[in-house]
Amino acid sequence: MSARSLLAFLAVLAVIGLLAFGLLSKGETKIAVGDPVPDKVLPALPAPGRGSIAEYRGKWVLVNLWASWCVPCRQEAPVLQRFYRRNRQDDTTVLGINVQDNEDDARAFLREHPTGYPQLRSVGDERSAAFGSTGVPENFLVEPDGDLALIWRGPVDDQFLRERVAPLIEGS
């Protein structure tokens, strides 16, 4: 094999390798029920302070990913607030994580829709990516030991919380 042929072969090999690497590394984050919840210490919303899901170990946590520009998130906020008020005595909490948003808009949203439950803020879509999120809102029920009990990629309403979320908590 001549030097020129060898060079061409190596170039083709490099391109194929690059494409294969691309296909493997572009794979979306997949999380499933039973997996540990993706967690990270995040700034509290409103500032100051920081928090994480791990702080609520021993409690059921309904993690809600939301953004101020998302219309279903506005409809969902009072539903989650009611759920929080009803269940906070029973070792259950709701934890909002603001994603894909700017802080001013997020704060304005919370002034307009006071939730009462704790809120964290993720810069950009870093947390959405960690949760394998495809949009907002999305909801994740986390067991007291930190594993995912339910993944719901969409808004929740009273009926959903009553029929899908409450039985999991009560069944434990």
């Binding site: 060079l7 690059l18 894909q100 700017n102 810069v123 879509d125």
Partner: protein
């Protein structure tokens, strides 16, 4: 010294009031212009260089609800007199580094940085080898003095050549 004192005697009372009114009106109208900082960049210039991270397109092309809020955020900063770099820094602080129209330095996107460097390195190597080979072949083809003497016309050929060339002597 009051306005009235400064102009007393120069203008009648009615004229004082008129001049005072005009001056106050001018100050009121000019105040916002003085207070508002001069824009250092334009909304369009920024929108052409940053992404709507959720849409995966340039902000200027995006029309999603998130993009609209991002545009409002940019417009606010531009109106505050922030420069292009400051606006981009603020966007990164709010929306993360993916807001910049730059590939990530990890995963497959890393190839956007590596491939040009690799291509340049290969080009340099290929060019160096080509130049070396060209120079070597040039040296091989260059005739030595003895070779040149051996190749020179001999005998009759040399005489005929000399005769032909003599026709062109000036």
């Amino acid at each position: 010294m009051s306005f009235r004192c400064a102009f007393s005697g120069l203008l009648p009372d009615k004229a004082h009031r008129y001049v005072l009114f005009v001056l106050i009106a001018a100050l009121v109208l000019a105040a916002p212009a003085v207070a508002a900082p001069a824009p250092q960049t334009t909304v369009n210039a920024i929108e052409a260089e940053v992404m709507c991270p959720i849409c995966g397109t340039l902000l200027e092309l995006a029309e999603s609800p998130q993009a609209k809020r991002e545009k409002v955020f940019v417009a606010k900063l531009v109106a505050e007199g922030k420069g292009k770099a400051e606006v981009k820094d603020a966007l990164v602080a709010q929306y993360g580094p993916s807001v910049l129209a730059l590939p990530k330095a990890s995963g497959f996107d890393l190839s956007a940085y590596l491939v040009p460097i690799l291509a340049l390195a290969i080009a340099v190597v290929v060019l160096t080898f080509s130049v070396l080979r060209w120079r070597r072949s040039g040296r091989d083809e260059e005739p030595s003095a003895s070779q040149a003497a051996a190749d020179a016309p001999q005998g009759e050929d040399a005489e005929r050549l000399e005769a032909d060339l003599s026709h062109y002597d000036l």
